[in-house]
């Protein structure tokens, strides 16, 4: 056996252990799974945003070649469904969502009927033969229009199209707004996005000979999918096995419950054969959840010196046609709770309305609510700086929560607590790396020669790993906050970790191994990690909310500690000494101060299984399972800076530099951490400059139906990102980690918008909404020039 590691594994920039397989093209994704006798499902989707369904004629489809089954929503009514959300903010009105539309469709892309055939081509051909009578109804796609009097109504039990009203309050905003030197208002739009995964959704459901059902699905939350599918289709949960193989990206979109997730298991049992469904890219645009889609009205009260006294926010969160899995929690708890950002704003008043419209349901997408929340705080403080003509950095410094104030409850909140942080430290590090002062004067100097450069700043904080379990009930979150890990040592002393977290590209195999290696003191290559199979992994919640290291990692840490504790007992018995005299280091148990020869971890492991010399009443085996329920949540934070040049003649933005300084607590693997920041920042830049889902306001047609119109950035569109870290360990978990996955997509949108606004400030432009496309920037410059009479 190889020697125990001499250095701590946590903090090492190890290369990803999982990559070789993927780079060699040997990944196994759901679509790679081909089972004997497998049938294919294809779905007919609504071409209308809002319509009553008349007759659905399936006869031609049923008699088409290869077709085994064709059905519409009526046939499933009462058999499976409805699809219920998993997070319901108390007081929400929950519209009923059938698995397949029964008498009414409410968005373009909603399932109307399906075909199961022997080949995918036959299934597609037959879907084309289904004839549906629709009576088209007026549609509404915009959240501001949907809440107006007389707007088309989507659900009888959701009057005014508002499912949820959520209020947050601290201090006395009304009072400070009367007393403040200045009060300004702004309206910002958080553009609707499509969470574009390289791998679209796919699912295979296969009946097994023993009567159980195996479901292969690209899931961020395999155990949650097992529970939801069991409950919604009516399959005993213990007879359902959910397997998530390799996943080509999730970003939140693969943690919800979709119609197809229910249809394949149901149909597989009905037909007694494996049924596969695979989503095409254009289908994905109209059936997989979208992200963001908010409009915010903000009011900020502040002094002449730029100290913010109070903030008022009104959010309209567009959640599409139904309440998807977490939908009522996004625009509410996840957004407005975080509206004050990194700033000490004691007087805060926010109201969030969750609005249904005739659009694809909106749900979690990388950051979920926190990008929207940070955008509120950041756009507000930037507007304050601009209004007072103060330096954007100094205004932030003046308003930051101070290091001594942690743990910090913003605006006296009961629900929000930032466990730790040092925003000044982040800012200083970012400014130094960015060479802020030199760049600032460079910007000013170049303006004279018609070159428009700008610097953007954004700071953020949020909370990761929703927990503890008992506190989640208050907000109506129907799951726990724990994560489970089983560490199983074999008789040679090698370890297998069964983790309830679920990697979708984050590199858990590497990072969880590093966490375990430090405690177990065994080499990384002696550790395997198993995720994504409910038959192998005892239990879990999966990966979302940047929780996997803080919660999943902590549970690996704790179960590894239990392994060592038990091994120590066994070692003591082998060494014939008292347990308290045994010490464990470098993979060996020894008795310091004696010449008793140490015994290695692998020898102890062997003893655990042969059981020949165990202490009295100690069970054999070396295998520990932990359900780790955190006591609190960690709060990552960061300061990002961007340097851009805007060509006022074309509106094109050139990103010259991007510096991210993030505090995610203890860094388990700096290389993977930087990768997470890079990916998040790219998605944030995408929101700021490129991506936007558009609907035709009149008829609710999706106008960005393919990647030909929906602009996902390519390598040439994004800069070299410089990622740096500051480590303020979180006191909320044993390894001191916070979350990281969502950081970049939270910080980058306001940072980019501020940079562009700074660049075009000489024209007198003070506001732009994302995405800042060249035509949009150019038009704003034209407007401003016209206004200035140039």
């Amino acid at each position: 056996m190889s020697q125990a590691p001499a250095i701590r594994q946590i903090g090492q920039p190890l290369r990803r252990r999982e990559d070789f397989k993927l780079l060699a093209g040997k990944g196994r994704y759901v679509d790679d799974i081909k089972l004997p006798g497998m049938l294919h499902m294809a779905v007919l989707r609504s071409p209308h945003a809002h319509a009553r369904i008349g007759r659905v004629d399936l006869s031609a489809a049923r008699s088409a070649p290869g077709v085994r089954l064709a059905l519409s929503g009526q046939a499933l009514d009462g058999k499976i469904g409805p699809i219920r959300p998993n997070w319901i903010i108390p007081g929400s009105k929950v519209p009923s969502r059938p698995v397949i539309a029964i008498d009414r469709v409410r968005f373009v892309g909603e399932c109307v009927a399906l075909v199961v055939a022997e080949t995918l081509a036959e299934a597609y051909d037959a879907v084309g033969l289904i004839d549906v009578d629709y009576e088209v109804l007026p549609a509404v796609t915009d959240e501001e229009v949907a809440v107006r009097d007389g707007a088309p109504q989507l659900h009888d039990n959701v009057p005014g199209n508002i499912t949820t009203i959520y209020k947050v309050r601290g201090g006395d905003y009304q009072k400070v707004s009367r007393e403040a030197d200045h009060v300004i208002g702004l309206r910002v739009v958080n553009n609707r996005l499509i969470p574009t995964c390289m791998e679209t959704r796919a699912i295979v459901a296969a009946p097994e000979l023993d009567g159980t059902l195996t479901v292969y699905i690209g899931s961020q939350v395999p155990h949650m999918h097992r529970r939801w599918i069991a409950e919604t289709v009516g399959i005993p949960e213990h007879q359902l096995r959910v397997v998530a193989p390799d996943i080509g990206g999730g970003f939140g979109a693969k943690m919800h419950l979709y119609s197809e997730d229910l249809l394949c298991p149901y149909l597989a049992r009905e037909l007694g054969a494996p049924v596969k469904w695979w989503e095409s890219r254009s289908e994905s645009h109209q059936s997989t959840s979208h992200g963001r889609a908010h409009t915010e009205r903000i009011e900020v009260a502040f002094t002449n010196e730029g100290k913010i006294l109070g903030l008022k926010v009104e959010t309209l969160g567009n959640v599409g046609a139904y309440l998807s899995n977490m939908a009522s929690g996004g625009p509410t708890v996840n957004t407005v709770n975080f509206g004050t950002g990194t700033y000490k704003i004691d007087n805060y008043e926010a109201i969030s309305r969750v609005v249904v419209t005739n659009t694809v349901p909106v749900d979690a997408y990388r950051g979920y609510g926190r990008p929207e929340g940070a955008y509120i705080a950041e756009r507000a403080i930037d507007a304050v700086a601009r209004h007072l003509k103060l330096d954007q950095v100094e205004v932030r410094r003046k308003n930051f929560v101070q290091p001594a104030e942690f743990p910090y409850r913003p605006y006296g909140s009961m629900g929000v607590m930032y466990d730790s942080g040092n925003y000044q430290g982040l800012l200083d590090k970012a400014l130094a790396a960015f060479d802020y002062d030199r760049r600032r004067s460079e910007c000013e100097a170049l303006r004279g020669s018609g070159i428009y450069r700008g610097i953007g700043v954004a700071a953020y904080t949020h909370m990761c790993g929703m927990a503890p379990s008992r506190r989640l009930a208050v907000s109506g979150f129907d799951r726990g906050g724990w994560e489970s890990a089983r560490v199983s040592i074999d008789s040679s002393g090698r370890a297998t970790i069964y983790s309830g977290s679920m990697s979708q590209g984050q590199g858990h195999i590497t990072s969880l191994s590093q966490i375990a290696a430090d405690v177990l003191q065994i080499p990384i290559e002696n550790i395997e990690v198993v995720q994504g199979d409910t038959r192998q992994v005892q239990a879990g919640h999966g990966t979302f909310n940047s929780r996997s290291m803080a919660v999943g990692g902590s549970s690996v840490h704790v179960s590894s500690q239990r392994i060592v504790a038990k091994a120590k007992k066994i070692a003591a018995s082998m060494l014939e000494v008292d347990e308290k005299d045994v010490s464990y280091s470098a993979g060996a148990f020894s008795v310091p101060g004696t010449d008793i020869p140490p015994v290695t971890f692998s020898k102890v492991a062997r003893m655990a299984y042969v059981g020949h010399k165990l202490p009295d009443r100690l069970e054999p085996g070396l295998d520990e399972t932990v359900f780790y329920d955190p006591t609190g949540m960690g709060s990552p934070s960061g300061v990002h800076l961007a340097y851009v040049e805007v060509d006022p003649e074309t509106g094109i933005v050139d990103i010259l530099d991007y510096v991210a300084v993030d505090d995610v607590g203890t860094l388990i693997n700096p290389r993977l951490a930087a990768g997470q920041i890079h990916g998040g920042v790219v998605q944030g830049i995408a929101q700021a400059l490129y991506e936007e889902v558009s609907y035709d306001a009149d008829n609710g047609q999706l106008l960005t139906g393919s990647l030909l119109d929906y602009a996902v950035p390519r390598a040439e569109h994004v800069p070299n990102i410089r990622s740096l870290f500051q480590e303020t360990p979180s006191p909320t978990n044993p390894i001191g980690v916070k979350g990281i996955g969502e950081s970049g997509s939270i910080a980058a949108p306001p940072c980019m918008v501020h940079a562009v606004l700074d660049a075009v400030s000489p024209f007198g432009i003070t506001h732009l909404d994302m995405p800042l496309t060249p035509p949009r920037i150019w038009a704003a410059v034209q407007e401003a020039r016209k206004g200035a009479g140039q």
């Binding site: 597609y124 084309g128 038009a779």
Partner: protein, 284 residues
Amino acid sequence: MIPAAFDYVRASSLTQAIDLLRNDPDGTKLLAGGHTLLPSLKLRLASPALLVDIGDLAELKGIEISETGIRIGALTTHAELFASLPLNEQLPLFRQAAGLIADPQVRNRGTIGGSLANADPAADWPAVMLALQAEIEIAGTSGFRTILARDFFVDIFSTVLEADEILARINIPRPTAGTRFVYRKIRHPASGFAVVGIAIALRLSQNLVSEATIGVTGAANHAFVGEDAADFLIGKTLSRENIDQAARLLSEATECLSDRYASADYRANLIQVELKRALLALTP
């Protein structure tokens, strides 16, 4: 997605391909590089009964450079046009434009003939063909006919090609020595196609413009020649004022397209900006 079922024939002669087209003009489609046709089949935007693959037809291949001009077979791929040294020695516009079409995968398959026949209003080759005063050779039932590129494009996705005709070759007159070329393109962030693309061939004698041709794509229903702007420049220096005036004339030459991404005003502005920048780049 999955295309509807279709029949497939790999044509062994130009005549065979034309005969097949004539048999069922509405239900038959030629297949060249497939990088426009196959996506539209997969989305079931088109479902022809028969695909006639012209990939084997030697008559449609190759780049020939002679004293009088350059002949390019319709099946020549974007990648070949990018890579051909002899071609780009004469007409560096090919490398400039090809390098801005999509990505290497698309360039390895897509053909210049397919691009011209398809007449996407935002495709790159049409502007280049106009600037080079190309002539298009078309094969039909009664042999070959030729037409100037400037008369070839009719409307959005529409050309003078009849349903039973095949775009065979492109003939480009040899440029006068000293002619300089530039292609500039503002790409749509999603599709990568041209929001506006401008191709220019220009010759200066003693600092005065002696020859100029301008082709514009992306801005209108189909690529067009900037005749007024080019005429205006003849005999003039490339002074700031002259460049500005040419840019104005060019942007007034057409009614610009307006879509969700870019307004007609924005396109008209890009025409001006891009022409100015192109001419500045050509100024000695």
